[in-house]
Amino acid sequence: MNAISKPGLPAPSYPPHARTYRYDEVDREFLQERIAEFTGQIERRLRGELTEDEFKPLRLMNGLYLQLHAYMYRIAIPYGILNATQLRQLAMIARRWDRGFGHFTTRQNIQFNWTKLEDVPDIARALADVDMHAIQTSGNCIRNTTTDEYAGASPDEVVDPRIYAEIIRQWSTLHPEFTWLPRKFKIAISGAPHDRVALQVHDIAVQAKQNAAGEIGFEIWAGGGLGRTPILATRLRDWVPEEEFLAYLEAVLRVYNALGQRENIYKARIKILVRDLGEEFRQRVEQEFARLPKQRYRLDPEIVAQIAAHFAPPPFAALPDNPAGFAGMLAGNAEFAAWAGRSVRAHRQPGYASVTISLKPIGGIPGDASAEQMEAVAALAERHSFGEIRVSHVQNLVLPHVRQEDLPAVWQGLREAGLATPNIGLISDIIACPGMDYCALATARSIPVAQMISERFADLDRQHDIGECFINISGCINACGHHHVGHIGILGVDKRGAESYQITLGGSATNDAALGELVGPGFAYDQVTDAVETILRTHLAHRRPGERFIDTYRRIGLAPFKEALYAAA
């Protein structure tokens, strides 16, 4: 069956300059084959030829997850990059097969919470029409690789991480050996010295670098993860040459697949193996790496060059920084200036900027976007950002390449769509997992806590005064809301039938990664917001001028916060 070619797969018409990986017929044919395979598996399940136990891993690795009320369908947005055509299609799917909303996740994916099993093949085909899929967004396999939402735009970027994220995507897609791992497996890659991808909490973290000779190589870390046993990653290697990149990843995965725990689901992540084996883990990886046939797993520089071509810079115009239209608006319109102060970020190309779009309106559901909002963002991207959109790991969207002179128009467009909340990096820019509202594993509500906190601090002047502070909320110990690495982390647990919220302080997911410290006994549902307020008041009372919450905390420690929170009791 060598020469089969399936006719009639139309090439989607893309915005001309969007720097997404462009599928060719082989990629499209692969998706069609995979849809046929999964459709067949659903049919076998419906006929009873597969037990639910047998079907479960198959549906999970195709993105279908059973929640509290319905199936959730999680769609891959490879390393968080979308073009306008794809975002419009997601809006269409939200309208036609969901309730008019989509939910962007911390893995830069999107999920639909109200999916019917029988609709899945149709949705999968609608995704394939725009070169998208839901493969490996769930299950014990290699998940969507995440990267910097400002890739290709950020001034501090050394290596473009999209190229290697795409290489990992292809290599890990239906990997014959690593599709039945002990547990899920998440890889993140950064190509900038400033970590914007939470490297330290990933199963494998890749820091792409350049040496003095201009060669590209990778620093590799493994064994980070949150969940009930939060552990930061361990460095395995300072430098893996580009040609051996996939060989090294193979070696790490082989050691994990062979030795990772399989009996106890809570001990099955690679972080436990790395912790338990210590230096022996690294030695085993090195041993495996030394003996695997390098030629077979060699990453050909020609392949890298071909993939890199997909991510060549868009045709930027030669423009000055701070054009009059932008500078004048900054000086003359306080509302615009407040938004720009939070949402506009420096770009490597003079005259351009990146715009972060807040999906955290006051009192809203963090990460949710309506079909209309997705369409509005798609239109703005087409007009102002070469047709490109990014999803950030804190559940916001990004227009990566906007002309500074267009910023007032972009702001207007976002305002009309209800997407111009000037709160990026402030306390209402909250990460929250779905919690009790959707998730079958939840022990407490998560979204409503985010909404209460956001409403309490609705006054944006007050938010600005408090300054940068990240609140992360999880609805159970599985930590999907990354509470351990929030400056303020909130974990909802069940305490004798009532929700109780444990608060940690001082977590961080960036270069200075740290796990938060528990302040003390938990708070009831209706006390959490007061507790957060007390914490922030304590910060304001102690901070030095301009000091961020996390820095105040590091300077003064847990005690003053503890005292303020529990003194009255």
């Binding site: 069956m1 060598n2 198959l58 039945w180 996939l246 697949n257 062979a258 695997l292």
Partner: protein
């Protein structure tokens, strides 16, 4: 259990021998403990090993020259250690005998087992070989090098020649 190879059910010349049963003078699959403890020096019939999922292939390296068959096992379909065992046996130890997948194997896994170097699979009583074959052929494109994979089509892609 019926044995599937190259799309058809084939006769199985091997017998599995319990640890307390005598070793017959025909192709026999033994446990690792038995292989290590039994004096098999004078034996002419072929030998096979039932490899436990927890045993690393390097632990049996010294035995490999004597073995014509190794079974790798999926205790549950989602337990994928056999994939790495098979690959290591082929890639690191140059094992050229039969590698047989046993246990709770789904037709959906057959293609991937083959790409990791497995040669035969024990299928449930009454299994339809045609269905296994269809399942195997459903996807004939792959993005990574593997055992038995064809020449590259370009980029990371390989069309599967052996499919």
């Amino acid at each position: 259990m019926p044995l599937l190879e190259n799309g058809r059910l084939v006769a199985d010349e091997w017998v599995r021998v319990a640890d307390d049963a005598p070793v017959p003078d025909q192709p026999a699959i033994l446990s690792l403990a038995r292989l290590r403890s039994e004096d098999l020096a004078g034996r002419n019939a072929k030998l096979g090993l039932a490899l436990d999922p927890a045993t690393q292939p390097e632990e049996i390296a010294a035995l490999l020259p004597r073995l014509s068959l190794i079974t790798v096992t999926l205790p549950k379909s989602k337990d994928g250690r056999a994939f790495t065992q098979a690959r290591a046996l082929r890639e690191h130890h140059g094992f050229t005998g039969e590698i047989r997948a046993t246990g709770h194997v789904l037709p959906d896994q057959w293609r991937m087992l083959l790409r990791c170097g497995v040669s035969t699979v024990e299928v449930p009583e009454g299994a339809d070989p045609a269905q296994w074959e269809r399942s195997r052929r459903l996807v004939d494109i792959a993005y990574q090098p593997a055992l038995g994979a064809a020449a590259p089509l370009g980029l990371l892609r390989r069309r599967l020649e052996t499919v």
